[in-house]
Structure formats: structure tokens, C-alpha cells
């Protein structure tokens, strides 16, 4: 499973209020949420992001609220993966549970620049920066989490376990 697209850079401690402000949480419709993704960090981002693009951020991405609307909004906006130095705990769980690919790679997150063309192999965690020619590898997931990811999220995983 390979994806390629453009990098959108964000800083450290991107909180879930920046990712999807609470004023839009009276809906949990993914397309509705996608219209406002990252709005308070960059008011026009949702209209600029293209399907397949990447968010590249610093430490503690997704801190704050437990709202699953945050990874849902990012995924529905067309983002193929979030690459960050580190992720906040609940966002990390939520992303795995709903099937938004996340990659922890401090080196990639540091070096990739806004607008760089990125290619990611979601199975191996290899990140290629096509603009700079550099390659990075993300931390692999523990086996059990990889099983949830492979199943397509927590609900699918539970369904397969039930059978």
C-alpha cells in the first residue's frame, strides 16, 4: 500500500481544537468535519489539501480532547497519513482504531519541508522524500496494534475475533 502526495507542515503540540474546533462537533459526519479540518491552525487548509497529501508535524500531535472527530476530519479531508515526531496518547489510539495511518519518525518530521513530494509505504513504514531524495523509516507498531491496523480498525478487528 503506497501513497504519494504533498507535505503540509505543522508545529509542536497541535491540539485537537486546532484539528477540529468544538464549534463543529454538533455533527459527526466525516465530510462535514473535513470542511473544517485544521481550521484554527490554517483557515484555508481544508480547501487547499489534495487527496493523498500528508500532514507532517512536530511533537505531541493531537494533544487535548479525546474527540475521534479529529482523526476522522483529517482522514475525510483526504490525508493519506500523518507523520510526526510523536503523537498524544488518545489521538494515537483513535487513529489506529479508525484506520488513519500514522507514522512516528522524528527525523522525517524534522527534515521534510512544506510542499515536498512524499511517498510512503504504509506496510513497511518507509518514507521517501521525492523532493530531497532522502529516505526515513518510521517506528514499527507492536504486533497487536498492527493486527488492528491490518483488520481496518478496531471494530473490524473485534468482528474477526468474534467469528
Amino acid at each position: 500500500m503506497k501513497s504519494s502526495g504533498q507535505a503540509w507542515k505543522f508545529g509542536n503540540n497541535i491540539d485537537t481544537d486546532l484539528i477540529i474546533p468544538a464549534r463543529y462537533l454538533n455533527s459527526h459526519n466525516p465530510q462535514e468535519l473535513a470542511k473544517h479540518a485544521m481550521e484554527d491552525a490554517d483557515a484555508t487548509w481544508a480547501s487547499k489539501v489534495q487527496k493523498g497529501d500528508f500532514i507532517v508535524a512536530g511533537d505531541n500531535f493531537g494533544c487535548g480532547s479525546s474527540r475521534e472527530h479529529a482523526p476522522i476530519a483529517i482522514k475525510a479531508a483526504g490525508v493519506s497519513a500523518v507523520i510526526a515526531k510523536s503523537f498524544a496518547r488518545i489521538f494515537y489510539r483513535n487513529a489506529i482504531n479508525i484506520g488513519l495511518p500514522i507514522l512516528e519518525s522524528p527525523d522525517a518530521a524534522e527534515a521534510i519541508k512544506e510542499g515536498d513530494e512524499i511517498k510512503v509505504n504504509l506496510v513497511t513504514g518507509e518514507i521517501d522524500n521525492l523532493t530531497s531524495g532522502m529516505s526515513y523509516s518510521a517506528q514499527p507498531f507492536p504486533g497487536f496494534m498492527q493486527q488492528i491496523i491490518d483488520a481496518g480498525g478496531l471494530i473490524e478487528y473485534i468482528k474477526t475475533k468474534k467469528k
Binding site: 481544537d17 486546532l18 462537533l25 491552525a41 494533544c63 479525546s66 475521534e68 496494534m145 480498525g153 471494530i155
Partner: protein
Amino acid sequence: MRQQTISEKILAKHASLKSVEPGQLINCKVDLVLGNDITAPPAIQEFAKIGVSKVFNKKKIYLVPDHFSPAKDIKSAEQIKMMREFARKYGIVNFFEIGCMGIEHVLLPEMGAIKAGDLVIGADSHTCTYGALGAFSTGVGSTDMAAAMATGEVWFKVPEQLKFVFTGKLNKWVEAKDLILYTIGQIGVDGARYMSMEFTGPVIRQLSVEGRLTMANMAIEAGGKNGIFEVDDKTAAYLKKTGAGKGLVYKSDPEAEYKQIFKWEASAIEPQVSLPHLPSNTKPVGKCKSIKIHQSVIGSCTNGRIEDMRLAAKILKGKRIHRDVRCIILPGTQNISLQMIKEGLMKTFIEAGAVVSTPTCGPCLGGHMGILAEGERSISTTNRNFVGRMGHPKSEVYLSNVAVAAASAITGRISSPEDL
């Protein structure tokens, strides 16, 4: 056997293991699953996809519409309706309509839903509040909530352990809130990322259970998985009063392993203010005194308990809210509102020119009941001051304790009660 902390012991017990260690992936049985009107609707949708015909336990699921309730608009009303219908369909006992509801993290401890040794998950990041009662309690997302409603189980990575020891004596006007703001200021918003935060020491033992609930509430603001306090006589008395029953009391072993131990002298800590736009951006109140405010919010799941209301009333009694300030009081539950009437606090607030709201998360997350316009500033006893948290992306939130928020409402600038 491995020496363990309170958090590790509760996790081990619920995973049917003798002991656990940091990094281990475990599957735990849960004692309580919580959701609110923002997080429960997606959970209900995911629950339907699992294809089970019943919930794991009708009495252990708590559905509290508190964020946008009483319904602020049609979409919010639809979300609450979805919760109500789900509760009826599956016979879920603990659904709280307005009139008997409260802010979830004030309501559940008050009604005796949580006891020591419990393992609680909630689709709300401030679920960590219940660690004050000696429970392992943590926030998750809607899909985890859905899975737990179906299976009664949740997976965890056992967190590393941090210990925070407060010694000495609290200065005047310093509250539990200041200890947690100070902690976050010292270690940063990701200082406890993925970790347990255990609070202990003579100063912690002096705090009321309400104060400990305030501290545990904000463990997530340092990135913590949970905050936890040892059960003592005060906790036992609180759990008895609420009818929860004591539960299982665990103590950390003397040789339990901590990734880091922080020791702080309380007498060096002044009332703290977290400046925009991170809770870790703390300064002593003395260094914030020229900052003009337009609003003061007193209450929420952090500081909306009766003790907080009494303190606010003590400061506002016989005083007048500054003419350029809107002061909004948010008691945590209906019971607290009733107690405020009995004690005359309602009268004090209204005579001072404050408004008293029904229990709701309201302005804390920019929902309703006190949204800020562009360029406006609020001092607030809530827990987050992120960009746009209380309204316009160009508005600002300053976090403080109750006494500072009340004093500032009177002067119109960030103030200590000493300035009155």
C-alpha cells in the same frame, strides 16, 4: 513479585495478571464506560457495526449529555436524541436527562458511581478525574467506547510511572488547581505523555477530595494517561458519603519503579495563571496583573464543585462584578445548584452581578453559554486555553484557580484576592 504502583496493581487486577510492567500490552475488564453528547453518537454508530444484540452490562454504561446540553441547536438536539434512544433500546440505566444531570466528571463521583480500585474508561479526555478516588481512569475515543460497550474490555499499553511529591505548606490563596497548573508548567503539555502521574506527599494528604479531583482532572493536560491518588481517610469518608462503597484500596510498593520522581516545596508556589495558548504556559499571578479581562468563568469539571462555589462566593460577597466583565458561574450538578441555594450562594452571585448557569460544559470548549468574540479575553477555572477554545480563534483564555478568577471578575484585570 515485581514491586508495583497503584496504577499497575489496578491494571494487573483487571487483566487477571499477578503483575504488569511498562510497555506490556494487556486486555482489561472495565468497571464503567462513559460517553457524552459529542463522543457517544459516533460510538453508537460504531457499536451498531459490531453486530451484537446487547451491551456488556446495562448498569455499567453511563451516558451524560453535558457538552451542548440543554441542546444548544438542532444538530445538538439530534445527537442527544440519539443517545436517549440508544439508552432506551438497550436498557441502559444511567442516562441523565437535564434536570438530573450534571457535568459528567462532577456527576459520577458525586452519585457514587466510582469507587477505589475501579478501572474506568470514558470517551472524554478528562475521565482521568476519577484517579482522585483511587481508581485507574482514562480517556479514550468513541471507537474504544463502542468496543467496550460491546465487550466490557479495553486494551492498554501499561504506562510508565511518574511520581509527584508535594512537601511543605500551601500559601494563602493557593489551591489544588495551582499545584496541577504548576506541575504542567514544570513538565510541559507532553511531560507525562503516555504515563501515569501519581500525586503524593504531605500537601496532597491535606487536600480535600474535591481538590484532588481538580488535580486528577488535568493530568491529561500534561499528556498523562491517568492521574492517581492513594486512598486515605478522606477518600474513604467521601466514598462512604456518596454510597459508592470503599472498593479495593491499593498502595504503591516501597520499591515500585518510577521513571522519574519530582519533589516540590509547596511554599514556593504562588497562585498560577496559564497564559494563552497552552496550559503549560504558566506564570505566578503576580506577573499577570496588568492583563485586562472581559469574562470570568468559574466552574466546569475542573472547578465546579461545592467547595469551589463557596470560595467564589466568599470573594464575591458584597462586591460588584466590574462593569466591563461578564462573570459566568457553572456549577457541576443539579445537587450543587441546590446546595448553593440552601447556603445562600446563589443570592451572593446574583447580587454581585454574576450569572449562574445550568450544569453544562458550555463555554469551556467554546460550545455555548459564554462564547468569546474576536480579541476578547477570559480568565477561567476550566482546563484548556488552546487557540479558539472558548470562541473566536483570536480570543484568549487564561487558566487560574477559583479565587483568582473571582477576584479578577471584580477588578476587571487579572488579580489576586489580596488586591481587593
